[in-house]
């Protein structure tokens, strides 16, 4: 994984709460055996009408959101299934950060494994961002802050190890493999 410190982008806004992983990537596309190529299926049933034509009302189809790499969404984003295909699809599409007042646990874990930043902000910041789609904001992993175009800097929580991994591009499996001696000791100790 490449190190990530700053994400600077205009936002695309999906204000609905509880956007579940079935919307992010419907189950019928989960028969893939690779991690790539899911971006074109991202939010399929919202992006496309039943006849396959793009839905012009959907945010990602509006020309001004092209190239936006930060998704601002309503509370409890990514709830539902554990499918890592959801962050894979977002990353493949070009999204680098999701900003919400609450992000579902498994989605949050999966996002961090793929360099997708799960950013939790307070209600007021979220309301402001939802009310101002398309503004350019700066997410700084190092200082754990978002800078709004007004100049206001908003802190966000980011677990210490997640921050360290993102800033240094550290791979979690490598970290675990370095703990094999402790794992072996644990196994020898017998389990209850």
């Amino acid at each position: 994984m490449d190190p990530i410190r700053i994400v600077r982008s205009r936002t695309v806004v999906l204000p609905a709460p509880n956007i579940d992983t079935d919307q992010i990537i419907p189950a019928r596309f989960l028969t893939t055996t690779t991690r790539t190529g899911l971006g074109e299926r991202l939010f399929t049933d919202w992006r496309y009408r039943p006849d396959g034509a793009p839905n012009p009302d959907f945010a990602l189809n509006r020309p001004e959101t092209a190239g936006c790499r930060i998704l601002v969404a309503g509370r409890n984003f990514g709830c539902g299934s554990s499918r890592e295909h959801a962050p894979w699809a977002l990353v493949d599409y070009g999204i680098q950060a999701v900003v919400s007042t609450e992000i579902a646990d498994i989605f949050c874990n999966n996002a961090l494994k793929n360099g997708l930043l799960p950013i939790v902000v307070d209600e007021a910041t979220s309301r402001w961002l939802i009310g101002h789609p398309g503004v350019e904001i700066v997410i700084d992993v190092d200082t754990r802050t978002i800078t709004l175009p007004t100049g206001v800097r908003v802190p966000f929580p980011l677990e210490a190890f997640a921050r360290y991994r993102l800033l240094n591009g550290v791979d979690e499996l490598g970290f675990l493999l370095e703990r094999l001696p402790q794992i072996e000791t644990y196994e020898r100790g017998g389990r209850s």
Partner: protein, 464 residues
């Protein structure tokens, strides 16, 4: 004084968490399936790593597999080519990494969260993970069981461990008793409706109290299964004599002296009196009625006799109702339906099938209603057939299938058509969950079967 969660967590800390690093948590049982494992095995291949503990790893095929007999046992190829490829890929990976796989024709194959308990592999005090959010099901035995993503599946395959921050605890005390015609499914739908689809985020739930103790293991699994629908990664229920009676003599449960030793350990697991949960909620089971969902997430629930709520200035709520084709204030009771699905890791066990059969015995499906009954595993299918349940379903006009996730996830050929209403015993009513444009009403097997008979949403108590 410790909670059960705390005891299980602490016994599995290979390295405890610090301010800078999460805990290294040991995994006792890793269940894998065809949808969330291919990219994990690819990770192992890329690094030249073996599966560290093949003896703690078990694979099955369930999500993308067909349920039509000819496609499972030969005579016809798997209709969805990409699904067939995925099945072949797990077969290849299991063979290459020497991992046990309950293959397409295995008499023990089934939904991953049904087979673990059925084989006796799911045991109190274990840590259990799987690349599937409904892994919470196994918590019914007093295990700490939660869903993980595919990258983490790779971590467990390679190291038998995960890096985890310790979650908070939420105690849900359920007092009283469920009334006649009211099931564990209704209870958990009521709980998710009460605390909301994000109400358990960051928490492990422990369900306790009189009403929980009175549940059998199938019912406890239904409750723990839907913990994730409240955002909790895991749900747990303390093991007791009901648990031990279920596990005794299961093929892969401990035997002889090992069983006696296991019992001693398991009896130490329940939460100590006076131990503290980070949050607590109380529910009275006597107040719970048969429940049904009316919207597009599992927190949007009402009693089957109730009416769809109205909300001021909530365009998202209005959009959910528009998707469902329902109006605020409308009664769901007697609403026409098209499809009934009895199955899924929530409600596909023998007692669920018995419940549905009880209502269908000597009755027929209403004209125009399609009903699928999909047992959770091949052993459940065989047991149901030995009791003659399949005859009741078939005589009523329902389709009796091979085991699998089927219409719960709509990625295996079993789907609900656009605009159709499905009364489903599964766990998610998200937009398109059962097929693009499908409209799902989550309910118990009793409510599902009663609705199949009437062709309309029906309170099962009217037919009992």
């Amino acid at each position: 004084m410790k909670t059960m969660f705390q005891k299980v967590w602490e016994r599995h800390e290979v390295v405890p968490q610090t301010a800078d690093t999460p805990a290294v948590l040991y995994v006792d049982l890793h269940l894998i399936h065809e949808v969330t494992s291919p990219q994990a095995f690819a990770q192992l291949r890329a690094r030249g790593l073996p599966v560290r503990r093949r003896d703690l790893t078990l694979g099955t095929l369930d999500h993308s597999t067909p349920t039509r007999t000819d496609q499972v046992f030969g005579g016809a190829p798997i209709a969805i080519e990409s699904a067939a490829r995925q099945v072949r890929e797990l077969e290849t990976n299991a063979a290459a990494f020497a991992v046990e796989l309950l293959g397409m024709r295995s008499a023990e194959r089934g939904i991953v969260h049904v087979i673990g308990p059925e084989l006796g592999l799911t045991q109190p005090g274990k840590t259990i993970v799987c690349g599937d959010s409904h892994t919470s099901t196994h918590g019914a035995f007093g295990a700490l069981a939660f869903g993980i993503g595919t990258t983490e599946v790779g971590h467990v395959l390679a190291t038998q461990c995960l890096l985890q921050r310790r979650p908070h605890t939420l105690g849900i005390e359920v007092s009283g008793r469920l009334g006649p015609g009211v099931t564990a499914k209704d209870l958990i739908l009521a709980i998710v409706g009460r605390i909301g689809v994000g109400g358990g985020t960051g928490h492990v739930i422990e369900y306790h109290g009189e009403a929980i103790r009175a549940l059998d293991m199938d019912e406890r699994m239904t409750v723990c299964n839907m913990s994730i629908e409240a955002g909790a990664r895991a749900g747990m229920i303390a093991p007791d004599e009901t648990t031990f009676a279920y596990l005794a003599d299961r093929p892969r449960a401990p035997k002889g002296r090992d069983w006696e030793r296991a019992l001693e350990t398991w009896r130490q697991l329940p939460t100590d009196p006076g131990a503290h949960f980070d949050r607590e909620v109380e529910v009275d089971a006597s107040d719970v009625e048969p429940m049904i969902t009316y919207g597009t997430n599992p927190g949007m629930t009402i009693p089957v006799t109730g009416s769809v709520p109205a909300r001021e200035d909530d365009p998202v709520f209005d959009a959910a109702l528009a998707y469902m084709g329902l109006e605020p204030g409308a009664s769901l009771r007697d609403h026409p339906i098209n499809v009934v699905f009895v199955g899924s890791c929530t409600n596909s066990r023998l007692s669920d099938l018995r419940g549905a059969a009880r209502l269908l015995r000597g009755r027929k499906l209403a004209p125009g209603v399609r009903m699928l009954v999909v047992p959770g595993s091949q052993p459940i299918k065989a047991a149901a057939e030995a009791e003659g349940l399949h005859r009741i379903f078939i005589d009523a006009g329902a389709e009796w299938r091979e085991s699998g996730c089927s219409m719960c996830i709509g990625m295996n050929g079993d789907t609900v058509a656009r605009g159709e209403y499905s009364v489903s015993t599964s766990n998610r009513n998200f937009e398109g969950r059962q097929g693009a444009g499908s409209r799902t009403l989550l309910a118990s097997p009793l409510t599902a079967a009663a609705s199949a008979v009437r062709g309309r949403v029906t309170d099962p108590r009217e037919l009992l």
